[in-house]
């Protein structure tokens, strides 16, 4: 019975670990970009501009804000062929324009909609893989919970990010169990666990107090 449980945990540790390893690498690599505020540019960012007219804009658009505004803009963005996560929409009252940022990991589009002419200027920038990793690392993030995750794929990403954390916690706990079953490795492992704990809590204490 104990042997069967050990084998089950060992197999789950292996398969769940392999499943999440690309996600773990994504988070680990993007840490270097975020910590050093640096993004490698392998090629120049490609930017394109195009104009779209006759957008289907609802009449009460100027009275909307937040998520209802984003939902109301969806048909217009669809007509303009712009997909992605919509960010904070800026309303330029005097100019009667809306500036709508739309993001796909690795691509940014800025859609400037003229409310009077129902035209949109769309500037699209391909910003590359490193930017995509950073975007995914920070998504959904703590800001603007009412408007974020308005695109199905970013909602799916949130589920995947959560799944990665839950599986990661399982993998770490099962890893502790598997290590503990190796009697010969216990003393040195305990020493490392203690050293790691001391380093972590020592640093956290120094930072916070």
């Amino acid at each position: 019975m104990r042997g069967r449980f050990y084998r089950l945990i060992r197999d789950l540790h292996l398969y769940f670990g392999l499943f999440i390893s690309p996600f773990v690498l994504l988070f680990a690599i993007s840490v270097f970009f975020l910590v050093h505020s640096w993004l490698p540019r392998l090629g120049s960012a490609v930017s394109t501009t195009r104009l779209v007219s006759a957008l289907p804009l609802p009449g009460d658009l100027q009275t909307l804000s937040g998520r209802p505004l984003i939902d109301a803009l969806k048909p217009a963005l669809e007509k303009a062929g712009v997909s992605g996560e919509v960010g904070f929409v800026q309303h330029l009252v005097k100019e009667e324009k809306l500036i709508v940022p739309v993001t796909i990991p690795g691509r940014e589009a800025t859609v400037t909609i003229s409310l009077t002419s129902r035209e949109a200027t769309i500037v699209t920038r391909e910003i590359g893989l490193a930017d995509a990793l950073v975007t995914l690392h920070k998504s959904p993030g703590p800001h603007g919970p009412d408007i974020r995750m308005n695109w199905f794929y970013m909602r799916a990403w949130r589920w995947m990010a959560d799944t990665t954390v839950y599986l990661f916690l399982f993998v770490s706990l099962s890893g502790i169990y598997l290590w503990y079953m190796l009697r010969a490795e216990r003393p040195f492992g305990l020493l490392l666990l203690f050293a790691g704990g001391l380093t972590f809590f020592g640093m956290a204490y120094a930072l916070c107090h």
């Binding site: 398969y15 392999l18 390893s21 988070f27 975020l34 505020s37 391909e126 703590p142 800001h143 666990l193």
Partner: protein, 229 residues
């Protein structure tokens, strides 16, 4: 991982096999040694990542439950030898007994008025110094453990697209270095696990399915979405 009793494939010299099994043994040890040493760091980043992604959870709403204190202190106006905002801010912080990472959020409008923020995980200081009156008003906000965890997750001292904010506290640099080390340690653990898995012929197919599925989904988000849309 093959045991020491497994037969050596024909044609493979004994020394190569010994080297291979030695590497496999140390690779395995490295995998769990790294995991054990980094365990608390990994749990912090995993749990705080979850909190950051669910800002509507009650435990994630640390700012609402902050404790605020306001006070004023006399300060010495920085002399002409103290040049630049950073040096002046450091002198004021010394006078106030505050340590932490300086955050520039406002542009200075007058040489006599100086506003800046100082942060350290769990504590936020909003400093408004009047150099002409030699007084500094401080609003201090202290947050709970959840707030500390979330602050530690992103406490790098730098911000993308904001070159004005650079690391100016030694402990921030140390924490940033530890973030790098944790990320590098995770990379080591991932690659060591892939090596260990490849040493298990009977687990290769199900392992390939798990790794392939993970890579496919992750690849969809990193690269695929740009191709599809």
């Amino acid at each position: 991982m093959p045991s020491a009793t497994e037969p050596i494939p024909p044609g493979q010299s004994e020394s190569v096999a010994r080297l291979g099994s030695g590497f496999a043994r140390w690779n395995r040890k490295l995998h769990f040694y790294a995991g054990l040493f980094l365990l608390f760091f990994l749990w912090l980043f995993a749990l705080s990542g979850l909190l950051l992604n669910h800002s509507n959870w009650s435990s994630a709403e640390f700012w609402k439950h902050r404790k605020e204190t306001n006070y004023e202190r006399d300060i010495a106006a920085p002399g002409p030898e103290v040049k630049g905002d950073l040096a002046q801010a450091r002198q004021i912080m010394r006078a106030l007994g505050i340590e932490g990472e300086i955050l520039w959020t406002t542009t200075r409008t007058s040489p006599d008025l100086f506003e800046f923020q100082v942060r350290r995980p769990g504590h936020f200081f909003f400093i408004h110094a009047d150099l002409a009156r030699k007084r500094a008003a401080v609003r201090q906000a202290d947050v709970n453990l959840w707030g500390v965890m979330q602050a530690l997750h992103s406490f790098t001292g730098v911000q993308m697209a904001d070159p004005r904010n650079t690391r100016d506290w030694a402990l921030t640099s140390m924490w940033a270095f530890s973030m790098d080390a944790v990320a590098a340690g995770l990379g080591v653990m991932v690659f060591s696990s892939i090596y260990m898995w490849l040493q298990l012929p009977q687990k290769r197919l199900p392992g390939a399915v798990a790794l392939g599925l993970g890579s496919l989904i992750c690849g969809l988000f990193c690269l695929g979405l740009r191709w599809i849309f």
